[in-house]
């Protein structure tokens, strides 16, 4: 059963198309990273599926429609910035979330321990550092133990220590078997935390799938020979090779994972081509990301 189903979602701000017929499915237990450059429509997508922005077109449904209008009670979410009452302390702010979520358990000790805020729980929110605010927001998403948690740029604006703390907390949450949706423009974050990835640019979905499939199904090859034209011709005739490019005398190509570089070398030699340079490596998500969003 899909947790979230998005169909052809569009959102226009005047003439600007922030989202253009975006479709996406998130299954139970996935840790879905929504990856895209700034302004690509990540936050707009999350805003719509959380009911605060009105879509210009298209549709979405949570939990197969089984929860009706109350679906948000089963989702913990931060959008853009941690939003709390600055004049209230951590306990009061969490209490407000608890009342909204209709949760009975008033004990926030474990949550505050998880995000390491127990020592400052009686301080007003406005006295917190950005990292502490972000961590309180993460604690708030866990109230009522929802099945789905959504984070939007969770490490934005944090210092390296803050980033590492938040990432550890997210990994910890993900390991509890929840469905996680995380928007980010930072590849390393998605690569480390997520099981699946959807890449968005200009409001359009460019690619989606398990991180592994986008990460490693293709092999990246660099080849060089004295007779470049002959080598190009040879590579074009190989069905495993998908894309060939010549850069500064070096041929770069992507090939499907069943290609064996040693066999390729032997085959080239038997065709009378001597390779002076052969490197094969798996593609990194970063290159893939740049490639896809180019």
């Amino acid at each position: 059963m899909p947790v979230l189903q998005i169909d052809n979602l569009s959102k226009n701000y005047g003439r600007l198309k922030a989202l253009n017929k975006l479709s996406l499915t998130v299954e139970k237990g996935q840790i879905m990273g929504i990856l895209g450059p700034n302004g690509s429509g990540k936050t707009t997508t999350l805003g719509i599926i959380l009911g605060i922005l009105k879509a210009s077109g298209g549709d979405y449904s949570w939990f197969d429609g089984t929860m009706g209008h109350n679906y948000r009670l089963n989702i913990g979410s931060i959008l853009e910035t941690p939003n709390f009452y600055p004049y209230l302390d951590a306990d009061d702010n969490l209490e407000i979330v608890r009342q909204i979520k209709k949760v009975d358990d008033r004990n926030f000790d474990d949550l505050l321990d998880l995000v390491k805020l127990s020592g400052r729980r009686k301080s007003k929110f406005k006295t917190y550092s950005l990292g502490m605010k972000q961590r309180l927001a993460i604690a708030a998403t866990m109230i009522g133990d929802p099945d789905v948690v959504i984070f939007d740029e969770p490490t934005n604006g944090l210092d390296p220590q803050g980033i590492s703390e938040v990432r550890n907390t997210l990994t910890e949450i993900a390991s509890r078997g929840k469905t996680v949706i995380m928007a980010s423009h930072i590849l390393a974050e998605v690569e480390k935390i997520c099981s699946h990835v959807a890449i968005i640019k200009n409001g359009k979905l460019l690619a989606t799938g398990p991180v592994g499939s986008i990460l490693s199904s293709d092999i990246f090859l660099e080849l060089k020979s004295d007779d470049t034209d002959k080598l190009m011709g040879f590579l074009r005739s190989n069905q495993s090779i998908k894309k060939i490019e010549l850069k500064d005398g070096v041929i770069e190509c992507t090939a499907s994972e069943n290609l064996n570089p040693a066999e390729l070398n032997a085959s080239a030699f038997s065709h009378g081509i001597q390779l002076s340079h052969l490197v094969s490596r798996k593609r990194k998500l970063e290159e893939e990301f740049l490639e896809i969003t180019r």
Partner: protein, 268 residues
């Protein structure tokens, strides 16, 4: 419903601005009476100023003072109740956390109803105490013989607060909404009325303008005597209570439905 009231209470019980506005309301309301004692001796065709502190005139006099105090303090508080949630993005977060738009709207509506009810209860208690002190003889029936003054006061508070809340829904920024609220009530509408009256002879329909109708629920007591003159000059200054009540209820429905329509339609 109780859940929403409790939620609003948790949100605002420690808010300094709300605390101060309400405190000032409670302090300045009775303080206004002091100025009543400073009024110079009135012309002989008017009642003596002592009667302002006695039943039944105390209700008019106190109500008129409360008119200004409520307009300012609880009106501004109503704007603030919403705009603070917009500027802190907690309105957004409340919806994200699972409150439906209807529930959020209802929570604000309940807040202004409760604030208006508390203000009216204070008016009732204050009027009763002062009246009992200054009126000879203890007669509760006579004390409450006041043309539904407490209900009119409540309606007046509700009209100010719902107007203020509507402006908050429209402008979303505290400064802008408060500025428009105050300048509409004390400058824009009176000016509009003045110019229309100038152009259109005896344009007494301008008395039905929203904030004037609301003010006429608790008019300046002396105006009642001016209202007795129209036979000669063929012009009524004030709305009858019935007219003011009807007009205000219609405006109230308008303010609330417009707010609701805007809130449901717009992005948050």
């Amino acid at each position: 419903m109780f859940r929403l009231i409790k939620l609003e209470w948790t949100k605002f019980r420690k808010n300094t601005v709300i605390q101060l506005l309400i405190l000032f309301f409670f302090l300045f309301f009775p303080a206004c009476l002091y100025f009543g004692t400073l009024i110079p001796e009135l012309p002989s065709f008017l009642p003596s100023k002592e009667s302002f502190f006695q039943f039944p005139d105390i209700w008019d006099y106190l109500g008129y003072a409360g008119n200004w105090i409520a307009f300012f303090f609880i009106g501004v508080a109503s704007v603030y109740l919403l705009t603070i949630e917009v500027s802190n993005k907690t309105m957004r977060q409340s919806i994200i956390n699972g409150l439906t738009r209807n529930e959020f709207f209802l929570s604000k509506l309940l807040s202004i109803i409760i604030i208006s009810a508390i203000a009216s209860a204070f008016y009732a208690v204050l009027g009763l105490i002062i009246g009992l002190i200054h009126t000879e003889g203890f007669d509760l029936v006579a004390a409450f013989d006041n043309d539904w003054a407490i209900a009119r006061f409540f309606l007046m508070c509700l009209s100010y607060t719902s107007f203020a809340l509507m402006l908050a829904y429209i402008f979303r920024k505290s400064g802008l909404a408060v500025f428009f609220y105050i300048s509409y009530v004390i400058i824009i509408e009176p000016l509009l009325r003045y110019f229309i009256i100038e152009r259109v002879e005896k344009a007494s329909f301008t008395r039905y303008f929203p904030m004037n109708a609301c003010e006429d629920l608790m008019p300046l007591p002396v105006m009642r005597y001016a209202n007795a003159i129209p036979d000669n000059i063929d012009f009524a200054f004030l709305l009858e209570y019935k007219e003011a009540v009807t007009a205000t209820i219609i405006y109230l429905a308008l303010f609330i439905s417009l707010s609701y329509f805007l809130f449901k339609k717009r992005d948050i």
